[in-house]
């Protein structure tokens, strides 16, 4: 199978990745979740926000234990946990991927210009990074959610805006390393413009660590979304996310007596994050054969 140009850097990396069992399993599990998220309407037996009633009565069927009708039971409002779990994958992944896209774009851009141009640009942006890192994220989000109507977009942007700093630092360091290599000096000697050198020679050569950073950033964004939603400042009801499904576990009764409500979202969360980390580690090893 040839995914990449023969004998190219990525071709070799792909071959090495394939040999790493843990990484392949991680990739498979991740893929499974992605498929689940994409085909949620086909897999889920019910709508995620559909309320169920106790048969023959005008009462919500709350906290129902797993049964044939509800594989994982129902939650505190009488909704099907299994369906919410499957739709929750959509929300969780969308939030994570969009947040990571934002942080990768900002982080890579800032890392490239600070690393390449250095001096004043570097000093200014690195201080901004320091400020962003020092920001109390939770406090920020709680404040925002009390002022503005909470929405999924606020969560996405919030995660994106606080997590670009690690990408920026990583990219900056990589640029500093690559920029002094002979082939960059040689490209300079050919009279290539700065833009061309950055885009054609530097960026492609530091894509590998950026890709590793993207996978790890995705896992971290999933965790961040879960904690924010768990605290009620993330994805809001009735939209299901794995984080806000765990909110029910804040009640002692649920935590003690109704494990079907919080164990499944907890487990899928753990599984997906772990799978993505395995992929990230696999990528890192595949890109760096010396390790």
């Amino acid at each position: 199978m040839t995914l990449f140009k023969k004998n190219s850097f990525y071709d070799f990396a792909y071959k090495r990745f394939k040999k790493n069992k843990l990484a392949v399993i991680g990739a498979a599990v991740t893929l499974l979740f992605v498929v689940m998220a994409i085909f949620a309407p086909l897999i889920a037996p019910y709508e995620p926000s559909e309320f169920f009633f106790v048969e023959g009565q005008n009462v919500y069927n709350k906290y129902a234990p797993p049964s044939d009708g509800h594989l994982l039971g129902t939650d505190s409002l009488g909704r099907d946990v299994f369906s919410r779990l499957i739709y929750g994958a959509r929300v969780t992944m969308m939030v994570a991927l969009l947040a990571v896209s934002i942080s990768t774009v900002i982080g890579t851009f800032i890392g490239l210009i600070t690393g390449y141009f250095g001096k004043l640009v570097d000093a200014i942006f690195m201080r901004i990074v320091d400020i962003v890192i020092s920001f109390p994220v939770l406090f920020l989000l709680i404040s925002i959610s009390t002022i503005m109507k909470p929405s999924i977009w606020i969560v996405i942007f919030a995660i994106g805006f606080v997590s670009w700093t690690s990408t920026a630092r990583l990219v900056r360091g990589e640029v500093l390393r690559v920029k002094q290599l002979d082939y960059i000096v040689a490209a300079n000697a050919c009279g290539s413009s700065s833009l061309k050198i950055i885009l054609k020679h530097i960026l492609p050569n530091i894509l590998a660590p950026i890709m590793v950073q993207i996978t790890i950033g995705t896992a971290q964004a999933i965790l961040m979304e879960a904690s924010l939603s768990f605290l009620g400042v993330g994805v809001q009801q009735p939209t299901p996310s794995w984080g806000n499904m765990l909110m029910d576990a804040q009640k002692l009764l649920v935590l003690r007596d109704m494990p079907w409500i919080w164990i499944p979202p907890g487990i899928v969360n753990l599984l997906l994050v772990l799978a993505i980390y395995f992929v990230g580690d696999g990528l890192r090893d595949a890109f760096d054969p010396k390790q």
């Binding site: 004998n7 190219s8 850097f9 000697a189 050919c190 009279g191 290539s192 061309k196 492609p204």
Partner: protein, 359 residues
Amino acid sequence: MKPSNTTPGSPLPSNKKPLLQVKDLSVKFRTEEGMFFAVEHISFDLEEQKTLAIVGESGSGKSVTSLAIMQLLAENGKITSGEIFIDDEDILKLSQRQVQHSILGKKISMIFQEPMTALNPILKVGEQIMETIIEHQGASRKEAYAIALDTLKQVGIPSPEQRIKQYPHELSGGMRQRVMIAMGLVTKPKIMIADEPTTALDVTIEAQILNLLENLKETYKTAILFVTHDLNVVADIADDVIVMYCGEIIEKGPVADIFETPRHPYTIGLLATMPSLDNDNDILPTIRGVVPNITKRPTGCYFHPRCDHAMPQCAQRSPAVFQVGQQAVKCFLYEQDALGVQDGPGVQDGPGAGEVNHG
């Protein structure tokens, strides 16, 4: 051998216009301990189809000189004075953009020492050669491909149609150096700077590459500035030689003259260290001492602590440049000769005469 027609600092009128003219170039580097000169008052001319070799030990400033001409000095390096003329245009007066656009890669190109690292590992060699053509000649990709293929043929790469689609790691060191040369040649620049292009290669490949450079010089009518520490290579390829020590030109002249009658004690020492077949010595001669650090240069003549002919004045002031025959020497030993009759009997008293002519 055509005579060198300049002396450092004061170029004499020449019948041929030099392609590259460096006048009084000085470069300073900022270090933890302050600003220090890496090269000082470098002047030379390079004419069409000539090869000028810059020779010196590590730290003599030969690479800094070539990087300064290419304006590729590291961030802590700065050209503090001097002019660099390419086609009668002082490129130090141009903006960075103008230099990128109309000088580098177009009029002057550079071949690097390490072919293993001087090629972008994730671009196919064809791409890298084509880049310069597209950048400078505004050619379409198709035209650029044809030119790149042709250039690969010119530099003697077998089955170029196949090689052009390969990545650098699929080529041997010699092949990569040929690719580097092709990259430098593809826009037909008038001047090529070769910074120790054969140091990383084994001797058989070295001979091939030198041969190639020689041929290309004829075909493309380029001038080559050849930076090296290898005197055998200099003897092979150069027309004129500049000997550098501690960032200064200490001797300059036609290659035959320098090799036959080296004047400066350092040059003499350097040539004596060359292994030769008709020399039965078990131990190769060396120059005692080491090149002083850039931050701790001696007073007066930089070479005097290592010099067997040092005089009291050598420690006090830096010698001027004296013209002896075709050679320009920065040494007090030649003060008399330069003032008096050139190539007179006085020269015989110089250290060069004793050790090389009659030795």
